[in-house]
Symmetry: D2
Subunit: 343 residues, 4 copies
């Protein structure tokens, strides 16, 4: 199977390269970028020993004529235009941007950008692999989930779907490494100002809020607005979502853990930790894992759920390849069984 990548020079794009280069079934057919036609190693010297390919201009006819699947690792705003054109051709499409995840009006409110063609957006399947496997199998177009929504939704899914918590009480305190902000220049992404620091950004305004609420609503019609705070961590990779909710009844940690085990049984990338164990961000570094630990506190009647992922893997490129695997009928973990890098 042949894969092309558009938007290769961003961090999501280069992580796709890492995965697909080692993938047993997908070959990297071509890599594309608007920014240069250099060999990719000039942009990313760590690829010098690995690959000689040159970045190419974006020619959708050429791409769709030769590749079986195209990954759009392009910024919001660019992806919907590319997706619209590619839907006229014979190729499967996985979009890593936020362009196809929301209803147009919600998109325009939260992204403050013009939404894409509503009919295209309607055709996009939300690629939360563990929950939407059936629709992904037959999809032509995938809206690959955001990094924060992936960690948050995998953490909240079972209790929300089962109606175990007060839907008006959900608070998610989320923390992300700097690579989540992409490769563009920003003062807050500079070493001297991110290092030895922790900062809050987009307070109650993050564009991933409606994406999370949309999926919660699908699971539970009592869904109410959530509080969602995003913090910039002084690490390169990794997200932790610390989720709080009021339990509807007196439940014990071990019973809720059973529900989580049942829900994610057979899912190779979601791991439920034993009671009194909680995942650390580094324990999933460079892997496609989502590790989850939780605790029902008898003092407060509240549950705290800790969910961690590598934002570039399960939060972007890893889940994109997982979805590609599913779309092409392979085992979902094909080429994705990376052991976390530790320490």
């Amino acid at each position: 199977m042949k894969a092309s990548i558009i938007g290769t020079t961003g961090y999501g794009g280069v992580e796709l390269l890492r995965i697909l280069h080692q993938h047993p079934e997908f070959d990297i057919h071509s890599i594309h970028s608007t920014s240069s036609e250099d060999p990719i190693w000039k942009e990313y010297p760590h690829l010098f020993p690995v690959m000689n390919g040159k970045l190419q201009p974006i020619d959708l006819d050429e791409i769709s004529a030769k590749a079986d699947v195209v990954f759009l690792a392009t910024p919001s705003g660019a992806s919907s235009i590319l997706a619209e054109k590619l839907m006229e051709k014979d190729i499967k499409i996985i979009d890593l941007s936020g362009d196809l995840r929301l209803e147009p009006d919600s998109y325009e409110k939260w992204y403050k950008k013009r939404a894409g063609d509503p009919s295209i957006i309607k055709q996009a399947v939300y690629g939360l692999s563990e929950w939407n496997e059936n629709e992904i199998q037959t999809a032509r177009l995938i809206a690959n989930p955001g990094c924060y929504p992936t960690a948050t939704l995998l953490g909240l899914g079972p209790i929300v779907k089962e109606g175990l918590v007060d839907m008006g009480s959900i608070i998610v305190d989320a923390k992300s490494g700097v690579s989540g902000a992409g490769r563009g220049f920003a003062r807050t992404s500079s070493y001297a100002e991110a290092n030895e620091n922790l900062r809050v950004y987009k307070m109650n305004e993050h564009q991933h809020i409606p994406e999370i609420e949309k999926q919660l609503q699908i699971w539970n019609e009592d869904t109410r607005p959530i509080s969602f705070t995003t913090h910039l961590l002084p690490i390169t990779r990794g997200i932790m979502a610390t989720c709080y909710a009021q339990l509807q009844s007196e439940l014990e940690t071990k019973n809720i853990l059973e529900l989580y085990h049942d829900t994610y049984s057979g899912k190779p990338f979601v791991h439920i930790l034993p009671e009194n164990h909680f995942p650390a961000v580094k324990e999933v570094a460079a892997s496609n894992y989502c590790n989850i630990g939780l605790h029902a506190d008898q003092r407060t009647g509240r549950i705290t759920i800790i969910s961690v992922i590598d934002n570039l893997m399960k939060g972007a490129a890893g889940q994109a390849v997982q979805n590609a695997n599913i779309m092409f009928g392979m085992n979902e973990d094909t080429g994705l069984n990376f052991v976390p890098i530790y320490p």
Copy 2:
């Protein structure tokens, strides 16, 4: 005025040294430790150019005969024993440990250690400088607040005292740098395992929970148990407390900011940021500041308060000196006007 420090080799102790060495009114009379009798620079080479003093054994008669105030930068369990003996002598005492902050039964439950003499604990004034100034002025014995409680209580104080929030809805998602764990050896404090990581610890079990709840109760008798999660950040210094609570009525951010401005008017170390600004941890590095930003979210009816401190300064040694200043009738900011180190 002469100050002695017991437990000088911990991070709280060495930060006391940094402050007192530059303080215009206090002289460092003597430094004490159980661990060595070396010059302090052998333990802390950065002090080689600064001071030649040797660590001395702990002789309470000697100390109280010559010093006006003694700082106990000793671990929990040790402090209460020292404080009990020092109360028989003529010296003011500031204890940085948790030994004197809680009722004995609460202490034994959360610290899982034997509590000190109840009559001594009763005499200790809780040294949250901005709130207890009057009692601190006349105190002989100060229970200096914990790092997390300082950030949390300064952030929550005004809305809790005014009864603006549902007291059953308070959630504090707290994050601390590694120096908060002290200088002892622990796997989680090692560079290779703390770096590029974020981990949760003492889930719903942190010993600072009852300290926070005790003060909340003083402010508001409707206080209920809080959810309090502690995360270990890959930074050396700094704490952020992200606090959530349900507002009792529809309040706007700007009105709540006014309350905070009024409350902390004239307090040199607590700074309320303008609307839409939130403090970052590095913005108070090595200073005695507590910076606070907040936002009332109309979608959820919830307030989010961000409070940051340097855990070794306002969270330990800085507040201890602030309390000493108050006890001796000086301006509370004497010798504490450090501009934050940035970047």
Copy 3:
């Protein structure tokens, strides 16, 4: 093929686990440690999703009866004793410690420990894979090189062997990440004291000096003592050796680069960067690569060579598996083609 690991709980041991778990030809037969009999994930929670194996006591009879190769990831002093006993049995042995790399008297001088049995040390083949492939193929016992010597020797090898530099002029300024110090507790390895720091250690006394000089002597009999300074970097993984030497004649960078290309032609893990490019440590993270860049300075007549590796991979576990591959007649890169993790 079946592999056992002794000393699994150190960082070298756990990196062996990561590699061998994903290796197509070696199975992890058993893992051993003196420190516990727990499941390995209790020691290393990131392995919870990956493996359930328990640590076992060290029973050499049992190991040699079932495994084809044993990796000794044990500390200096322990390895030589284990190697001596294992040589009596039918199993191949790869020792990652320094115990078998030096003549006994040199070992005792630099390691300040008792050397192992001289006859065993004599049988050990120095496992610098790119230079000793023939002897490794037929070896029973491998002394796997140290991390600093690997980076340094791969960088200096071609010019030293060809006699292009004044052998009395070699200076190596080496920098290593904290994982190189192992998993034991040390003040200098603690986060709060290693972070935002750079320190020199073992000035002119590092035990890797004689290991480097021994191999230089093999290549060039004019070898003289080198200056070798080791610095502790605030990173987890990675070594850079910045090597300086006086050129014997006026040579241009491009000619020396040709020599390096010729020397390492066909070697899958050593990469010579184009003129004016120099490798950064992160560009080999979690890979088995050694990347080399160099510059002949016309002003000084001196060459500067930059050589980088991941100390846990090419500097320890990666090269150990590379040697195992060679010993068992496989391609040397089998199971080792990891793309570096970037960013």
Copy 4:
């Protein structure tokens, strides 16, 4: 005394603000920048509690009419133009850029920029405070030294001046934190690419090379070109210069240490560590110290000197204020006695 700062928004400028705000003799009269007219805290939120001043456009008449000294924290190329104009007015000038440190032809060769007016450059006194105190006292215009030259020259000065080393053998392996690259955007200064990394830059081409060689030549006419390699450390502040040279005769460490003690006797900021002690970068953080340790190696006949500074303090703003103190007849350490921040 009144001080103005031009180029306040760079890291050198903001460090000047920190120092001068706490200085007993200098008041900050005005702060200037081409980039905005905002309050400085909008650019640097950590200054919100400290100062309300607004950035002003650069009006040299206004500045020279009211201020006693002006600090040029402007980039190379801009400073020489400003200095030329300011020399026509009645004000003392301290330039932190490289514009006035070199002969014009040397400047144009290494900086690849047009040099300033040669007559102005000739009037500039090189502000290496410990070595040029007499000329600084009477200077109107100071060329404040670069960060690398300060660390290197303070480390090499005594042995070079005394002629103890082969002047053709000097190698300086220098490492700097990211703040040294300034506040402008650069890929190599981004968190995701600087973190967990070490990279070489400007190999044998750094513009600080001629600055170092110029001063070495003043000390010793046998000076020859030096090898000088610059590495980017994953820390915010700090420089270490590891200096190597061949000793002319068999000297012992303790004798050379005596020379260093004599040379820097009475100098409050240069500290010579005892034998077998070497300075770490963090041990001078946020202070104006230069700490030096050294070792004469009997095996190689070579000396290794370790010199560390905080690049924003002794390497820029701290030394600039030290020079201002000297120019105005104060003690050179006035307002500069900061204890290092540790940990």
